[in-house]
Homo-oligomer: 545 residues x 2
């Protein structure tokens, strides 16, 4: 029977901040040692932070990382805890995504990840060579296997995933291991925590081993890592660490499983947490504290404001209403109510005189008329300018309010409502935005019913409503979900109108140029329009209909 | 002795336009047949066009591609020519980047690419499985090997390239082949044509075979494929097809080598051709014909205009001067002279009243002052708005004038001068921009000396000159070349000032957010800031200094 204490160090690394991440690990070693822990497990690539992307191509990274690795090795001298660090190993053959184990000032073993994800947002083969053997080492008479993230996800049904050639856990099984460690940087998406638990439980049963899953936590650009680390045996989860925050626990792996303490938030609560952490860390890690949101009085910018306040605090968010001639009084008062409910600073800057001046000068100094689409867009773009001027003046970042449904079909003005540093709702369908509204109103009526109930409108011309210009959101969201996330062929999509399906597929790909210049969304689904969505712009998409 | 006629079909495919690309291939078959050709060779993935990116993840693609493949097979019935098509083969194990050979209505053989590039702009392993054997087939008693693009580039010293495990040409050598075919989609960068010829000459010597290199031509987003296809034997190049245009030749591979007819344009002429083709095809393949350039009178927007005129014709380019209060009369007259020299339409739209209105309303309706960076940026952003209004009004695309030196360090206004569909100079250092100016003035004085000689300025405040706000371009370009393109460590960079080097490296990575929302550049160097430059935004880059 295994009898080990394992410490899980669920840290929130800043990518590239090797010194800062090193300090977090050193603190972890001290705590683990204090708790009489036998093993301290850190996440995948814990020293550099995940995903490091092309930083892995910089020689300087290795100088500093390897120096810090050496310091960690020395730091384990005269301590009883074995420390497992995720790092990038470089040798003559190339780079490896590796785990190294130090104990008593010595290197015990090294493992190179064998399954590399190269699909969706993951670029494993861009950087790494494939490790060619599994690693089982002994510690305190226990047989322990090392694995890294994707190693546990052999041919799981993940959209876009390429098939791997073999299952490392099948090989590990032959070694009769007691314990399997998994260093991960496994990003959040809806239902990911449940999928992970089921998967690792299966591994525990198949290998008759206890498994320790250590995930990183925190937002890094579009990706949010949810933490949710755990220890699982064949009967179930023994203990789970917190979701969406740093955590460290020392767990005796002999303990009985107890799934009553699992993290089981509602889906919408979890999405909300993910987005807020993503926002918070984007600001933290770029060195900003203040946000500006252009508040139209509509549901999207309202929820973007609510999320910003939750992530950054009410004193750090400025709401701005930017009415033009076609803005209803209701829009301004709705925006103002939300700002008041949230207790944030609120400014109204009327852009109608600016628009008038632009139209006059444009029409008098060129032979063209400012009308139609140009007239609609100019309002959104002047708003973008004012928001960016406020950003420059107050050292704040602009929050982009656009949701995924709009971004998908290009129902947005490039350099207008798309301006900003990051799009918290960029991976939320319109229906998710409404769900978030209801969720936030559960505790306290932050969002006026009128904001939720009124007909969505871009309000760029008189009497405009979204549904006149695009499919009803319910139909749109269904098509998007099936086409974008589940990669269905048009004739497999469960919407009655072939015309509507074709129309939306066309719009999706005609908008590649807009998304190519839009801020990153915060990912909550299995396919967002960020770095994992890679389509050419100058291409013919007619054949996809 | 080999005695074969080989036709090289150097086509310009539109990605996704499978029907259009199919028609180009059918025409090629007709011509090859007419010329008594034994083999017709097409480029890599010739039916779908390269790079198809995530289109390869769409099931519908395979339905249509495979139907067209079948039609091509049938089309070869009663013809003597063997037709080699690049396509994506899908089986239960996954996708392969493949070449299929049809003759007399039958499939002769199939080859799956064995070396997949997964570095820089290439995502080989994202889509494809690795072919596991080389392919040598017989035709007219000749032994012929099939290879695809990267197969010929085994561990050539390409920046960022991962090392491959074996060299397919070493294996081919054992087969005593007469002829080796290479289907390619090999993008242009400075000196690429020479490197290719040297490389394939070496292969021809080592394998004692004649080699036919068939490249695609044309611009696809940031990449420009230069064509430059050729036949080479151990003594040198037998014949080379045109650069930067579609071409088809039937070549008797018994002919003696004759390198007097090689394409050897000057570097600057070649860069110019690449950018013009990139621009032309971006418009063609997105369905636009007209361009708008904001002309500041400076060298960058001047050259952007000159290139646009060369690519699209003078009747399709509108130049717009957008002076504000700080714009000198000289700037307007310089812009006007260039427009006149080019014979394009030219408008002057004064933005000073709009700026005044924006400042007034911003300052009277908010507690903030429009000053400093905000005041500089608002001018660039209002210009962006006017250009986009003209774009919306006239159904034209805006050309982004920014050069690589500016884009590298973020010396540009996001949503201001960065607006546009594509950046023709986005991969040209400032020095390249001057070289392009000299090049265009060789034939005819298009660009006034004053535009070339005056001190560069963003002209966003009084008496501003670039050199007050950033390193001299000569120093900047040296650092950028060594850091960005050659991936040098700071202490390897051959510029005296450590402070300047650190400063520029900081600026490069502090500007990731701007480039993330900027239009794609047209690639001319070995590392542009497009899809092959992948760095996180919310990261700490201090350690790279």
């Amino acid at each position: 029977m295994t009898n080990l204490n394992v410490s899980i160090l669920q840290i929130n690394p800043t990518i590239g901040d090797i010194k800062g991440n090193y300090n977090k690990i050193i603190n972890g070693i001290d705590n683990a040692d204090k708790n009489n822990s036998d093993i301290l497990l850190t996440p995948e690539l814990s020293l550099i932070g995940y995903p490091p992307m092309d930083i892995l191509r910089r020689d300087k990274m290795y100088d500093i990382q390897n120096k810090k690795l050496n310091s960690i090795k020395k730091y384990t001298t005269n301590k009883d805890v074995a420390v497992v660090i995720g790092y990038c190993r470089r040798d003559d053959a190339g780079l490896y995504n590796s785990a190294i184990v130090f104990k008593n000032g010595e290197k015990l073993t090294n493992y190179d990840k064998v399954l590399l994800p190269t699909y969706d947002v993951f670029d494993g083969h861009r950087y790494f060579e494939t490790g060619d053997e599994i690693n089982v080492f002994e510690l305190n008479n226990q047989k322990i296997a090392l694995t890294i993230c994707e190693d546990a996800w052999y041919n799981v049904n993940i959209m876009d995933a390429k098939r791997h050639k073999f299952n490392p856990f099948d090989k590990i099984k032959d070694y009769d291991t007691d314990l399997i460690l998994n260093l991960s940087a496994s990003p959040y998406r809806i239902n990911k925590n449940n999928e992970r638990i089921e998967l690792f439980k299966e591994h525990a049963v198949n290998t008759s081993s206890t498994i320790v899953f250590c995930n990183q936590v925190g937002g890094n650009d579009e990706l949010v890592f949810d933490g949710n680390s755990f220890v699982v045996n064949k009967d179930g989860v023994i203990e789970q660490l917190n979701a969406f925050e740093t955590d460290m626990r020392t767990i005796n792996i002999n303990k009985n499983s107890n799934e009553t303490q699992l993290n089981t938030p509602r889906r919408i609560e979890e999405m909300n947490s993910a987005i807020c952490l993503g926002l918070q860390d984007y600001f933290e890690k770029t060195g900003f504290s203040k946000a500006i949101v252009g508040m139209s009085g509509g549901i999207d910018s309202t929820i973007a404001t609510v999320l910003s306040v939750q992530a950054l605090g009410k004193d750090n968010v400025l709401g701005v209403s930017l009415p033009s001639k076609v803005t209803s009084t209701e829009s301004i008062t709705d925006a103002k109510s939300v700002a008041e409910n949230l207790g944030i600073d609120f400014e109204v800057i009327d852009i109608s005189s600016i628009i008038t001046q632009v139209i006059n000068d444009f029409e008098s100094e060129s032979p063209y008329k400012m009308e139609g689409l140009a007239l609609e867009n100019i309002q959104a773009r002047i708003r973008g300018d004012i928001l960016m001027s406020l950003s420059n003046t107050t050292n704040a970042l602009v929050i982009t309010p656009d949701n995924k449904s709009e971004a998908a079909i290009g129902y947005c003005t490039l350099y207008g409502d798309t301006v900003g540093a990051i799009a918290p709702l960029g991976d939320c369908y319109k229906k998710h935005v409404y769900e978030l509204a209801e969720y936030h109103n559960e505790v306290k009526d932050i969002i006026p019913q009128n904001v939720i109930e009124k007909e969505p409108t871009a309000e760029l011309k008189e009497n405009q409503v979204d549904s006149d210009e695009m499919a009803e959101y319910e139909i749109l969201d269904t098509i998007l979900n099936e086409y974008v996330e589940n990669r269905k062929k048009p004739d497999e999509i469960t919407v009655d109108s072939k015309e509507e399906i074709d129309n939306i597929i066309s719009k999706i790909h005609m908008s590649e140029f807009k998304r190519n210049q839009s801020p990153l969304p915060i990912r909550v689904t299995k396919k967002d329009f960020g770095r994992g969505w890679r389509y050419p712009i100058a291409a013919d998409y007619e054949f996809l209909k």
